[in-house]
């Protein structure tokens, strides 16, 4: 039983950065903007988040540093892709390259330093309940925040008027513009939200997951978050399933190797990707009428004046 609990805890830790980054990108893409720079924003968030926590001794301030850093990075993207109407794919890729280099520069000073990782919740009595106690009441704040965030995003997108307007920008920027909505301003906010989430997701790595900074420590998680958004067909509910499924299979395949099940490790390593793709494709086929890509995703919009 202890092992089950340990596995669930590891799954939550592995899934949380993916969920946070993907939540941000989902909002960005729902507004019609494809920002491929998630990996770059994440790694800068990781470097700045660690710097903040190391300098102040506070995980909370570290997380804020990560959020601000990710937002600033996304503003570079907004300036290029929205302000100057540069190709979004190229800008996003450039942002990742910039981010990887910049994070190395920012983080160089902090390589080899350690911090105390984010504290875990402890409620006497509740946290001690076997099996579910630590899973439900013993996580770090990031885990709870990520779940609250995706619920809030779902509510915003489907239950509020601004959410509807944001989706309208993503489906037809011309119509939204004709109705008098400031498409570029709305998209800029969506891009900034995506950047803030990516920065926070990056900061989660050195603040809670592995409490040190090393260049390149995001190791492709930004790309996985991007893929999750696509395979969840831009729906928050499926995004949660996808992120946790990916995390779960990642951890379970490691355990399976430890038990020695005799399946080649190369196949095991590919399993999280396979399982996530298959399940999410099946999900989107099972329910007809599910939304597909925002119609205006990735297209440049220059308002007529």
């Amino acid at each position: 039983m202890e092992l089950v609990e340990a596995i669930i805890l590891a799954v939550l830790a592995a899934s949380t950065p993916l969920l946070i980054a993907a939540t941000g990108e989902l909002v960005t893409e729902r507004s019609g903007v494809l920002n491929l720079g998630v990996e770059g924003m994440m790694i800068v968030g990781a470097a700045c988040g660690f710097a903040g926590a190391w300098l102040t001794g506070s995980i909370f301030i570290g997380a804020l540093f990560g959020i601000v850093a990710g937002t600033l990075m996304s503003l570079i993207f907004a300036l290029m892709a929205l302000g100057l109407a540069v190709n979004q794919v190229a800008t996003g890729l450039a942002l990742t390259i910039l981010g990887v280099g910049l994070s190395g520069l920012i983080g160089a000073r902090f390589v080899g330093e350690r911090i105390t990782p984010a504290a875990h919740l402890y409620i006497p009595g509740l946290t001690d309940v076997p099996l579910i106690g630590r899973v439900l009441f013993g996580e770090d704040a990031f885990v709870y925040f990520s779940l609250a965030l995706i619920v809030a995003v779902w509510w915003f997108l489907y239950r509020t008027r601004p959410g509807l307007i944001l989706r309208a920008c993503g489906d037809s920027h011309v119509s939204a513009h004709a109705l008098g909505y400031p498409v570029l301003r709305i998209r800029t906010f969506a891009v900034m939200f995506g950047g803030a989430c990516a920065g926070l997701a990056g900061a989660y790595l050195p603040l809670a997951y592995t409490p040190f900074f090393i260049p390149g420590m995001t190791a492709g998680r930004g790309w996985i978050a991007l893929a999750l958004v696509v395979f969840s067909s831009w729906r928050p509910g499926r995004l949660v399933i996808g992120a946790y499924l990916f995390g779960a299979v990642t951890i379970l395949q490691l355990h399976a190797q430890g038990w020695g099940v005799g399946i080649p490790s190369q196949f095991m390593s590919a399993l999280p990707y396979l399982a996530t793709v298959i399940v999410l494709v099946l999900l989107s086929r099972a329910r007809t009428g599910g939304s597909t890509a925002p119609a205006a995703l990735g297209t440049v919009f220059v308002p007529d004046r």
Binding site: A10, V100, V111, R114, Y209, P211, I214, G216, I251
Partner: protein, 358 residues
């Protein structure tokens, strides 16, 4: 005022030309790195060696390095860039640079190349590597002594001979202390992903391992072991900062002496293509101080290190028994020969797992 400015400008000009002249006389030495120099592991150790080189021969040489160079076609361009910049001796420091290095070497016969951990050579291309399995053997002895559960956790990168021979050396050593020792192996299928390495370490500890060994590059596993109060070994570099009460020792890549020797040979004009596979005796790597263990275990480790260095102890002393229970052919007389170790693709008896791809 104006006069002094002119004088200053003239002085700068002269100084500039002097340094340019001396730079032209200096031997240019180039390095291609796989990771960032701040990776605290593989690339970091190569750069420490470069710094040692500069310290030793800085008045005669000038070094340049390119970091984060991906293995593949990009590497060829990067190596060629160093050639065009006038570098006469170029170290390419990862296995995946093998073919790109060879290609550039054929194109520029007057430039000398040194490729790390590969097996293809040419008139102007040497290879160099270290017998890390010797260090793994010492770690296996320590691990078996320190483990209370009798279960060791091993994080592998890819099932290539270098890693497999490390696992086998560890297990053979551990069996001399505890014949029933168990080793759980998890392949991360990456050299570097701190999160995944941490997850692998968690999984191993959750399954009962109490000594963690790794053949991946980040200090994540060390840090998890430290959090859980277990023991661990570092990799490539000193990782004791991440586990002051956790690290037992670490295999330290010490390329410095080799780099200095090769550059000296280049300066003397005696450089020639060679295949160097050095062990503890030739200081291609070193063991970090033996820490967090009782004195008798420390002494045992030091004795084993001395015996291996002196050539009295060989980790793959025959008979080496494979998983099928049959002894492996003994090509080196009393022990397996270098070729068998360099191409090792089997597990020894006592490992329950199956080697991936076998």
């Amino acid at each position: 005022m104006r006069k002094s400015l002119l004088a200053l400008a003239a002085g700068l000009l002269i100084a500039g030309s002097v340094s340019a002249a001396s730079a032209a006389d200096k031997l240019k030495v180039g390095f291609i790195y796989l990771g960032p120099i701040g990776d605290l592991g593989w690339t970091y150790q190569h750069d420490l060696a470069r710094q040692a080189l500069v310290k030793e021969l800085g008045d005669k040489i000038e070094t340049t390095y390119l970091e984060n160079v991906p293995e593949g076609p990009d590497a060829e361009r990067a190596i060629e860039q160093l050639v065009r910049a006038g570098n006469k001796l170029i170290f390419t420091t990862s296995f995946g640079y093998m073919d790109p290095t060879l290609k550039v070497a054929k194109k520029y016969p007057n430039v000398h190349f040194e490729h790390s951990t590969g097996y293809k050579r040419d008139k102007n291309m040497s290879t160099y590597s270290a017998k890390w399995y010797q260090g793994r053997y010492i770690q296996g002895l320590i691990a078996a002594k320190m483990s209370k559960s009798g279960v060791l956790g091993y994080i592998g990168s890819f099932p290539i001979p270098e890693v497999v021979s490390g696992i086998n050396a560890t297990v053979l050593a551990a069996q001399t202390i505890n014949p029933n020792i168990k080793v759980k192996i998890i392949w991360a299928n990456t050299w570097f992903d701190p999160g995944k390495e941490a997850d692998a370490a968690k999984a191993l500890i959750d399954q009962g391992a109490d000594v963690i060994m790794q053949h991946t590059d980040s200090p994540a596993a060390m840090q998890i072991a430290s959090e859980r109060g277990k023991f661990a070994f570092g990799q490539d570099s000193e990782m004791i900062k991440f586990g002051p009460k956790t690290q037992l020792t670490s295999i330290l890549d010490t390329w410095g002496p080799y780099y200095i020797a090769r550059v000296k040979a280049e300066l003397d004009g005696t450089w020639k293509s060679e295949d160097t596979w050095g062990g503890l005796d030739s200081h291609m790597f070193a063991m970090a101080p033996y820490t967090n263990m009782p004195d008798d275990v420390k002494k045992m480790a030091e004795d084993a290190q001395a015996a291996i260095t002196a050539g009295k102890l060989h980790p793959f002393k025959c008979p080496v028994v494979g998983q099928d229970g049959k002894p492996v052919e003994c090509k080196g007389g009393a022990n397996l020969d270098d070729g068998q170790i360099l191409g090792m693709n089997f597990y020894v008896k006592g490992i329950d797992d199956k080697l991936p791809g076998k």
